[in-house]
Structures are given as C-alpha cells and as structure tokens.
Amino acid sequence: MGLTVVITEWGLQSYLALRASNTFTRDDYKDIIRPDVEKLKTYDPLDAVFQNSRFWGPAEDYAGKRIADGHKMKWHNIGPRTVQLVLNGEAYLCQAYSKTSKHLEDREAAKFKTYIQWIRNGNYHRRGVIP
C-alpha cells in the first residue's frame, strides 16, 4: 500500500529553517533523510522498517494522547525528526524539527494537530509530491 508523499508549505518552511541553521548536512539529506522519506512510497505498516519504533512511531500530544493518523519519522544520529500525517493513501510531510526539549516537541505536536485539522478540511497549501 504505497503512499503519495505530499510536501506541505509547513514542511517546506521547516526544512528551510533547518538547512539555514545547519541542523543537518546536504549529505545527511541525500544519503539518509531523503531515502528514508522515500520509503513511504512503498509504505507497508508491517514492513520491518516501519515496525522499528526508533525510526517510526505514532505522533502524540503533550498529554501522551495519540494524534489520529499522525506519525513521526526519527533519526537519532542526526538532527531532525519529521512529523507526517498518513491519510487515505497520502503522506503529508507537515513538519521537520530537531528535538531540543520536551517542551519543543509538545509544541510541534500541538501545531501538527492543527495542521491535520486543516488538511482534513481541505484548506492547506501543498508544494507538490516527492517524485
């Protein structure tokens, strides 16, 4: 059940901010981040890659409540983790951030919850799909 990977405006802007602060290198992106994100194109929740909780897991809010359809993709050896909504055959890349504190992650989750609401309502900007 592969997914179409949609880049949202929020996702693009957060990548821009992370690149400007050198949170990850171009090589990190080309060799690790991009290939991992592309795994969503052949997404199978039962695949070992997506069973690895250090790499892939549910998005939760500050209270530990699961955010419906929300997932996190994580890299422990480089800066960013992305948060994405997986819905109806499409994965929406909504945010990328480097977890520097629990408070920051909780705030990112709160924003993500709002983005999901707007995506579900069909009111959002997209920047195309990953080819």
């Binding site: 990548y15 821009l16 909780d106 705030r107 924003k111 609401q117 707007w118 900007h125 997209r126 195309g128």
Partner: protein, 161 residues
C-alpha cells in the same frame, strides 16, 4: 475538537497571558482560535506550563504562526510551485540577507520592542521572524512596513509566502 471545558480554560489562560504583557488583541485572537482548534488550546496549556520564559516566548511565536496560517488559509487545496532541495540553501541565504537589511531599518527606528509596540506583533514572534530563514509572509511584511512607515519598495523580496 475542543471541549466546552477547554474553551473556557482557553479564555482563562489568555487572560493570564494578557496580564503577563502580551498585546490584548493577540490574547483575544488566540483564545478565539482555541475555540476552533484543539492544537491552539494545547499551545495555551503549554504556555502556562512552560518551564522557562524562553519556552513561553517560543509558545507565543507558535501561536502567532497559527494565527497567520489560519489567516492565509486557502479556501481549498492550493498548490504552490515545487522547490528542489538543492535550491534551499540559496533561498535560505537570500531570505536571511533580506531580513538582515530589514532588521537594520528596525534598529534605526527604535528596535524590536518598539516595532512590537507599534505593529501589535508580539516581540517573541518578531525575534523568530528575524532569526529564522522561513520565508516572510506578505501580511507580516505589510504590518512591519506600516509600523515603520516604509514604502512597498523597501519590503520587496524574491521569496515570500
């Protein structure tokens, strides 16, 4: 969806926020946003529980971003042009150069706190605006221009959203 109890609590926290010094118009706007968005309510709760004043400031910036996002929300799905990753470095550099130039005008006019007072944009949001490479929003640029008495030609930038 935000529950009735959460909606009431949102106004209570926003009142506290106003007492803490954020513009009243901002406090009212975020309380209203929290009526429509559980995520905005979560941010209000996180502002109240923030372990440091820096975390509180970041939360205010996040709330301002959500207000701006809602304001800029299209009536349907709107597609903007794709940007290749290879171009992001150049775009980030260009954005930061533009913001540095604008920052010099802000400093000449009394600095960030004076701009916050004149524009009604919370100071933490302005600090984030000038310190990150996210593309500036047209609405924010217009508010800054109005507050500083700049004309359109002084806020022209290749990259905005």
């Amino acid at each position: 969806m935000t529950t009735d109890a959460q909606k009431l609590e949102a106004f209570s926290i926003a009142t506290e926020m106003a007492r803490d010094g954020v513009p009243e118009s901002f406090a009212v706007a975020v309380a209203q946003l929290a009526q429509r968005s559980e995520g905005a309510y979560d941010l209000l709760v996180l502002w109240k529980a923030a372990p440091t004043s820096a975390d509180r400031d970041e939360t205010i910036s996040d709330l301002q971003e959500l207000l701006d996002d809602e304001h800029d929300q299209p009536s349907g799905v709107e597609t903007k042009p794709y940007l290749r990753f290879d171009h992001l470095d150049d775009i980030a550099k260009s954005v930061m150069q533009f913001k540095a130039k604008l920052r010099r005008k802000v400093d000449a006019a009394g600095g960030i706190s004076e701009l916050a007072r004149k524009s009604g944009i919370p100071q933490p949001s302005l600090s984030r605006f000038f310190n990150t490479a996210s593309m500036p929003r047209t609405k924010t640029l217009y508010r800054i221009a109005e507050a500083l008495g700049l004309d359109e030609s002084e806020i022209v930038t290749e990259w905005r959203r």
